[in-house]
Each structure stands twice: as C-alpha cells, then as structure tokens.
C-alpha cells in the first residue's frame, strides 16, 4: 500500500493518511474501527486462482444432483435448477427468480467479474471498463448467498430425514467447497491493491 495516501473512512467519513500497511495486517479507522486497508501477500494471484476454482465448482454444482431422496422404494434425485423450475411453475415466479439470483446468477457474476478484472492485471494488462465492472461487483456481492443456501440444505436434510433416506450428491459437496473458495477469494482481495496495480505505469 502506498503510505501517505489520504482516504476517507467509508463508515464515518473521517479522513486518514494511510500508514505503510504490511501484508497480512490491516489499517483500521481510529474513530469507528472500520477496516480501511487489508493487503494480503500475493492477494491478487490468490484471488484469481480461487475465482477460477470457484467457477469450476459452480459449474459442477449445477450439473450434478445435490440431493437424492428415497422413500418406499421410490427414488428421486434433484438438481438445484429443478427446484427453481418447480417453484416457477407453481406460480411462485418471484421467489423462483430470487432463489435463482442468490444461488446461481450472483455467485456466477461475482466470479466472472473477478476473473475479468484480475486475469488481465496478472498479465500486466488492463481490462476495458474495469472500474465499471468493479462497481457491479459491489452491487452483486450482498446478493450472493451460497453460505445461506448451505444452511438451507442442512435444515432440509434434517427435516426430511424422518420420512425418507437422504443421500447428499456430488453437487452438495461442490456447494460446500464453493462457500470456502468464495469467502477466501473475497478475503484475499483488497480493492486498493487493484487500483494501485491499475495505476502503475505499464
């Protein structure tokens, strides 16, 4: 991080002159405690690798059944998208769209945006419209809810355990891995490091 750079705290608006922040440390606002900078060692590279891994996991998670269900000799396996389609046909379009956005579209967009920004930077190039795209990332982030979906899977499994046999599918494990990959990816990325890399002369 460039020391001496002035920035305003995003939570209380106090101006700070950033000190030199070592990798793995964080600079916090002295007034409200918000994290102002948290550079990580090889943060960009790590975030890029995790984002690519995440895309693979997301593809797997949506192509394989995530839960199997056996009741009195009848078996049924289901994809996440089947559930969403099911809701859609039951006059629950709004809910179906919300579930689709929070479990498929937002995580996908989040990962694609990260790769779009980070891959060119890694190759010392600048993705056209990078800041524009980064703005979308900020809008998308709160709506990407993989970890909440995982809790939903757990609750459903317990709920159905009494009436049927539940077999977690490949996709369930992909979802689980995806949560950690997404969280690690967002944690290793300090946007200020991206700006710095962007503003470096080519």
């Amino acid at each position: 991080m460039t020391a001496g750079h002035i920035m305003a705290c995003h939570d209380c608006d106090l101006l700070h002159r950033l000190p030199a922040v070592a990798d793995g440390m964080r600079a916090t606002c002295c007034r409200c405690g918000a994290a102002l900078a948290r550079p990580k060692r090889n943060g960009l590279e790590r975030a890029l690798a995790l984002a690519v891994t995440g895309l693979v996991l997301l593809a797997l998670a949506n192509s394989f059944p995530f839960l199997g269900f056996k009741i009195q000799g009848q078996a049924r396996e289901t994809l996440l998208l089947t559930g969403i389609r099911q809701l859609y046909t039951q006059e629950m379009q709004g809910v179906a769209v919300l579930v689709f956005i929070t479990t498929v579209l937002a995580p996908l967009a989040q990962l694609l945006v990260l790769v779009y920004i980070l891959l060119p930077l890694k190759l010392n190039r600048r993705a056209p419209g990078m800041f524009q795209v980064f703005r979308w990332l900020r809008t998308i982030e709160p709506w990407s809810m993989m970890e909440v979906f995982m809790l939903g899977i757990l609750v459903s499994v317990v709920k159905l355990a009494k009436m049927a046999q539940i077999i977690p599918g490949i996709a369930a494990f992909c979802f689980m891995a995806l949560i950690f990959v997404l969280a690690a990816c967002m944690a290793s990325l300090d946007p200020h490091v991206v700006w710095e890399r962007w503003e470096e002369p080519q």
Binding site: H10, L15, R76, M92, V95, T102, R135, M145
Partner: protein, 217 residues
C-alpha cells in the same frame, strides 16, 4: 492509523462509495455532485434521502412481516392428507419432535433476525434524527451487524425450494410452496435494501472528530 482531523465532508471532499477515490466537491449551486471520475459511480457526500428511504423500507417490511408469518409457506400432501405449514408451525413441529437445534436455527433465522434487524434499523434512524451523540462507535457496530445478519433469513426460502424440488412423488408425498413464502421473501429483500439505504456516516455527523483519536505530532 494517522487521522487528519476532519471528515471528507468538512474538507469539501466526497469519498466515492465504490472505489473510495476522494473527489473535490462541487459547490451546491452547481447541482448534484456528478460521477466518480475513476469508476463512474454517482457521487454523494451522504447516501441520498437515507433517512426517508430507510423509514419507508422498514415500515414496508414490518407490514409484510405479518402475512409472512400468518400465511402458510408450504402445503404437504401425503396419501390424500393435506397439511399447511407456517414458519412458526414448522418451528413447533421441530420442538415437538425433539429436534431442538433445527428449531432454534429456523426460529433465529426466520423469526428473530428479521424483527431484530428492523428494530435495530429503527433505533439507528431515530437516533440519527434526534442528533444523538450516544456511543457512535457502538451504533456503527450495530449497523455492521444489521448488514451482515439479514441474508441468513433467506434460509427458509431455500428450504422451501429444496423441499419442493425433492418431495414431488405424486400421490405418495408432495410439497408445494404457498403465498406466505412470497411475503417472507419480500421481507428479506426489503430489510436488506433498508440496511443498504442507511448511511452510517450520519451517526458521526453531529460530532466533531477530535474526541476519539489521538494525533501524533
């Protein structure tokens, strides 16, 4: 952290909410602050109409919270018998069958968190309107909590989606989503929007920044 004893606003600067670039504020007579030269986001010294927007969304969420909890969210048909479940009857079912941890998870995520979050936002908005100087640091922390917990209320919506997808075995067993789920989803989305429209910097605007921080020479 070395502070400069002013806020961006008092220094006639605007901090971009997206990329944190500091931009010199144009005089009020020149109209709206315009766009961030780096990322193109609309520049606002404070989120526009933050208080009014938060109020409106909080009230809307409170109103929708009633049908979300009164109306059934699922209908289970099994061997000719039909049973409708509300969120609360689901919790009661788990308590009766001895599944306390799950009952607790659903109760906290679906019933407790939305109300708690709405009351916390209400408290924040009112405290800002009354220009309160009470514990701004703790109130900012409270705001961060409201931002972080809201998403967990989606749990029940996901459970409904999964149940509907799995339990689809014709006459044997069938689960369908009901109108309550629509209202409940609306409550979750609206409370999230309410938290996003509140601006925590308003908490600090009544204070001079000198009190809390030490300034090295």
């Amino acid at each position: 952290m070395r502070p400069v004893a002013r806020t961006a606003q008092t220094a006639s600067l605007v901090s971009c909410t997206v990329c944190h670039l500091l931009v010199r504020r144009r005089p009020a007579s020149a109209g709206p602050a315009g766009e961030c030269p780096r990322c193109g986001a609309a520049l606002h010294s404070r989120k526009p109409n933050s208080i009014a927007r938060t109020w409106a969304l909080v009230i809307a969420a409170f109103v929708l919270y009633v049908p979300a909890n009164v109306l059934p969210i699922t209908k289970v048909t099994s061997l000719g018998m039909t049973q409708s479940d509300t969120i609360m009857s689901g919790v009661i079912y788990f308590v009766q069958t001895g599944m306390w941890p799950i009952a607790l998870v659903i109760f906290i995520a679906s019933i407790f968190v939305p109300v708690l979050k709405l009351f916390m936002l209400l408290f924040l908005v009112i405290s800002v309107q009354r220009r309160s100087t009470w514990r701004p640091k703790d109130r900012t922390r409270l705001y961060r909590i409201t931002e972080a917990v809201g998403r967990w209320s989606m749990t029940d919506i996901f459970v409904v989606t999964i149940l509907v997808a799995l339990v689809h075995l014709g006459a044997l067993a069938n689960i369908e989503a009901q109108t309550g789920a629509v209202f409940f989803a609306a409550v979750v989305v609206i409370t999230m929007l309410a938290a996003m429209s509140f601006d925590p910097r308003l908490i600090w605007d009544v204070k001079e920044p000198q009190d809390e921080c030490e300034y090295p020479a």
